[in-house]
């Protein structure tokens, strides 16, 4: 509870998001913007008056994997890389609720890569929020498919020689109908994007760049959260109408293109299946 109390009755004494969040489950490093992504999502959910009956959060394994438990809603902490198919099943079985996947870059693009591209291809109506910190933080700072060339990680002690994914391009090429990337500190744009993603049909993919100072920064830049954020702010280039294959994310050579890259309208998987059911039932009724 708050240490400061107020004498008057009508001003709030509790954080406005306290009813949406399990505050005791914020286990992240001090200053890690994963918490900010969580509060941004919670703010959007609160504004839309969504409660436990209206949505569900699914996450995988890793630092971002602990995010689902922070929500006072049906929250699932599944296995590494498998949040997306779990979310698919959840949404297909209960299309009324909004389903969010909150997972890290390794969870989504390495072990979960296959599920990621197929969910995008199917255009399943879920919102995937990928927290990209270019590393496997929780397990000690190993390289991820988003680790930049030359970076030192615990499994690339001599520098990473594998080029990283452009997750925006991957999502777009797989068929996602809403693709965006934002820096983790830009909460207003992130919130606007989250609102858009949750209220449209089809697969939304929102990549959020969140610097990991504990594992990644320490080995490469030896800086803390504020310095890494300043560094990120210096290289972020917000663009409108940038095509996905030009969405460069090169933290070492100083360019992080952010913005919305794909925003097309298409029939989501839920609607597709519903149309199928109706068609089949009609045809079946005609036969009898």
């Amino acid at each position: 509870m708050l240490q400061q109390s107020t004498s008057d009755g009508y001003h709030q004494t509790e954080h406005p998001l306290a009813e949406m969040l399990n505050l005791h489950r914020f286990v992240f490093c001090s200053g890690c913007l994963i918490g900010t992504v969580i509060t941004s999502l919670a703010t959007c959910l609160k504004e839309e008056n969504l409660t436990a009956r209206d949505y569900a959060i699914v996450s995988g394994i890793g630092c971002t994997g602990r995010a689902s438990g922070c929500f006072k809603a049906p929250a699932f902490h599944t296995t590494h890389g498998r949040a997306i198919p779990f979310a698919t099943g959840l949404k297909l079985a209960k299309p009324r609720i909004k389903v969010f996947v909150l997972s890290g870059d390794g969870d989504i693009s390495a072990i979960g890569g296959n599920h990621f591209i197929h969910a995008a291809r199917r255009n399943i109506d879920i919102s995937v929020i990928c927290v990209n910190n270019s590393v496997y933080g929780m397990t000690g700072g190993q390289a991820a498919p988003t680790t930049q060339l030359g970076d030192i990680t615990s499994t690339t002690p001599y520098g990473n020689v594998e080029p990283p994914f452009n997750l925006v391009d991957l999502a777009a090429a797989s068929g996602a109908t809403y693709v965006a990337r934002w820096p983790g500190y830009d909460t207003l744009r992130l919130q606007k994007s989250l609102r858009k993603g949750m209220n449209r049909r089809g697969f939304s993919f929102i990549e959020v760049i969140v610097p990991c100072f504990t594992q990644y920064g320490r080995r490469n830049r030896k800086e803390g959260t504020i310095e890494m954020m300043e560094g990120l702010r210096a290289i972020v280039d917000l663009r409108v109408g940038c095509p996905p294959h030009e969405a460069v994310l090169d933290l070492n050579n100083g360019l992080a293109v952010c913005g919305e890259f794909v925003e097309t309208d298409g029939i989501g998987f839920i609607e597709n299946l519903q149309n199928l059911r109706e068609r089949v039932k009609e045809r079946n009724a005609g036969k009898e």
């Binding site: 240490q3 954080h15 505050l23 001090s30 200053g31 913007l33 909460t187 504020i226």
Partner: protein, 93 residues
Amino acid sequence: MFPSNRRPILAPLQIKKYYRVIVDSEQCDGCSLCTAFCPLEVLEIGAQTNRRMLHFAVVANPLNCLGCEQCERICPAAAIFINEVESELEALV
């Protein structure tokens, strides 16, 4: 503000708004993002520590606050928020 030949009949009311910034000292872990993001030096990391032995943010200059809510939005621990209040006195609590 207005060109000299065109003035409103009544001078526009300028109401100063006050904001009370509230920090949950147990939830705060002293990451100092709020102090970095605050444009007007309202906050600083204090000398006191909480039950987790962490220094937490304190409202050093509450009257500076103009309600931009940057601190509330950026806080990764949902430890800080602001209320609009009616008077200077309430902002200082």
